[in-house]
């Protein structure tokens, strides 16, 4: 039943004449949560950008559902939801408008669905205020709300817990666990200790970086 979604073989990345990782091999199955660990500067974000296709400064092979990822880029993007280091939230727009444009890239969501997602990330009552009036954590929550709206099976999340309060972290963790239960796959970087027995897989970049 478990299908290997993503497979990485002998990945090597060099940056500013420093080897970030070398001979990196791992795979992710459907329904797994992969946590990438490592100290600051060990290349976690770089690895996520390489997998998502934003960066091509690497050697090695990446396979998506058994095919070289460069050949199935469009299929991959149909399945991918990416939450980057920068949240992609427009400061001049309201949370509602922000969700409307970004979700329109994947699928058409009704206003009711958008409202429900904003309610789930505790932004009820803020949906019509411009985002520059919101706090950093609330802006981050707007980006998190996209996770409630997207139907894609594969998520790449770069530090999703940044600037989120304790209760928000617990809710997001529960949501990720529930998502994995239903067969969704997540790759994320965080320094937070995740508690998802059986589903969680870890890759440590710290060792290779030294």
């Amino acid at each position: 039943m478990t299908e290997t979604l993503l497979e990485i073989k002998n990945l090597r990345c060099e940056r500013e004449e420093r080897v970030l990782f070398d001979q990196l091999c791992f795979s992710v199955d459907a329904g797994q949560v992969l946590q990438i660990e490592g100290p600051n500067g060990s290349g976690k974000t770089t690895l996520l950008r390489i997998i998502s296709g934003l960066s091509s400064a690497y050697e090695g092979d990446i396979y998506w559902r058994g095919q070289p990822i460069r050949k199935v880029r469009t299929d991959f993007y149909h399945d991918l939801h990416y939450l980057g280091h920068l949240p992609g939230v427009k400061a001049a727009l309201t949370p509602r408008e922000n969700l409307r444009w970004s979700c329109a890239l994947e699928a058409e969501d009704s206003d009711a669905q958008i409202e429900e997602a904003l309610d789930k990330v505790d932004l009820y009552g803020f949906e019509d205020l411009p985002c520059f009036t919101l706090s950093a954590g609330q802006q981050r929550r707007v980006a998190i709300a996209r996770l409630y709206l997207t139907a894609t099976p594969f998520w790449i999340l770069d530090e999703p817990f940044t600037a989120i309060d304790l209760r928000g972290v617990a809710e997001l963790e529960a949501m990720l666990a529930e998502r994995a239960e239903r067969g969704g796959t997540v790759i994320l970087t965080t320094h937070h200790q995740l508690d998802m027995p059986g589903r969680l897989k870890k890759v440590n970049l710290g060792g290779e970086a030294q």
């Binding site: 993007y77 980057g84 920068l86 949240p87 427009k90």
Partner: protein, 232 residues
């Protein structure tokens, strides 16, 4: 619209992105006002700086209006992708399942609506101020309409290439100006040839050809440029 998530088309995301950029422009009204005010101020300085005489101004008018319109487009093209790059929306666009080609066209057209279009619409007013003979007004609007869209698309290539750099002003001009000049030459010559009693259909046809080429080819170049810039 539809509950079925798979029926979502590229056209919907085109419309949505276009609407978003227009909305952003109306939230930051200075984005609309800046190129237009630049255009009006610079053109209105010519009668003061050169000569207020009717003959001199009428002779200069087509060239001056076209050059200043070009500079207004050049100055504004720097901001085309800057904001999206800074807040991470550009990454979302690059990673979306929709074709980048379509998304780029939406962004450039929205940008033209807030820069090239107002300049085109206000040009007749400045033409009258510069004593441009009345028969030259329509060709002026026509050539600016065709020309500024091309300028926006070409400017997009430069903006895409330089968006990753902190200070891109001079580099952007150097990349884009050689591609701008043919548009300028045919644009101002369209107006001049009508004033001198010849038709402008030839020049307008060439401008139309430039436009088609820009609309079909520039989005490919812009998309590739953006991918390079985001990688940096």
């Amino acid at each position: 619209m539809s509950e079925n998530k798979h029926s979502h088309s590229a056209f919907d995301s085109f419309v949505n992105l276009f609407k978003r950029d227009m909305l952003l422009a109306f939230r930051h009204r200075s984005d609309i006002a800046n190129p237009l005010i630049f255009f009006m101020i610079v053109v209105s300085l010519f009668p003061l700086g050169v000569s207020p005489s009717r003959e001199v101004l009428a002779q200069l008018a087509p060239g001056v209006i076209w050059v200043v319109a070009l500079l207004a487009c050049l100055l504004s093209s720097d901001g085309l992708f800057r904001n999206d790059f800074d807040d991470g929306s550009l990454e979302l666009l690059l990673l979306s399942p929709q074709p980048l080609y379509i998304l780029v066209i939406a962004k450039v057209l929205a940008h033209w609506c807030i820069t090239g279009l107002p300049v085109t619409l206000f040009a007749p007013l400045l033409g009258v101020m510069m004593y441009l003979p009345t028969e030259g007004l329509m060709p002026l609007v026509g050539s600016l309409f065709l020309g500024t869209i091309s300028l926006s698309f070409v400017g997009g290539i430069g903006a895409g290439l330089t968006v990753g750099l902190r200070r891109s002003g001079v580099l952007l001009s150097l990349i884009v100006l050689p591609l701008y000049t043919p548009v300028l030459i045919f644009g101002s010559s369209a107006v001049q040839s009508v004033i001198h009693g010849f038709g402008a259909s030839g020049q307008l046809a060439v401008l139309g050809a430039f436009l088609l080429m820009a609309v079909t080819l520039a989005p490919l170049a812009i998309g590739a440029a953006l991918r390079i810039s985001v990688e940096g």
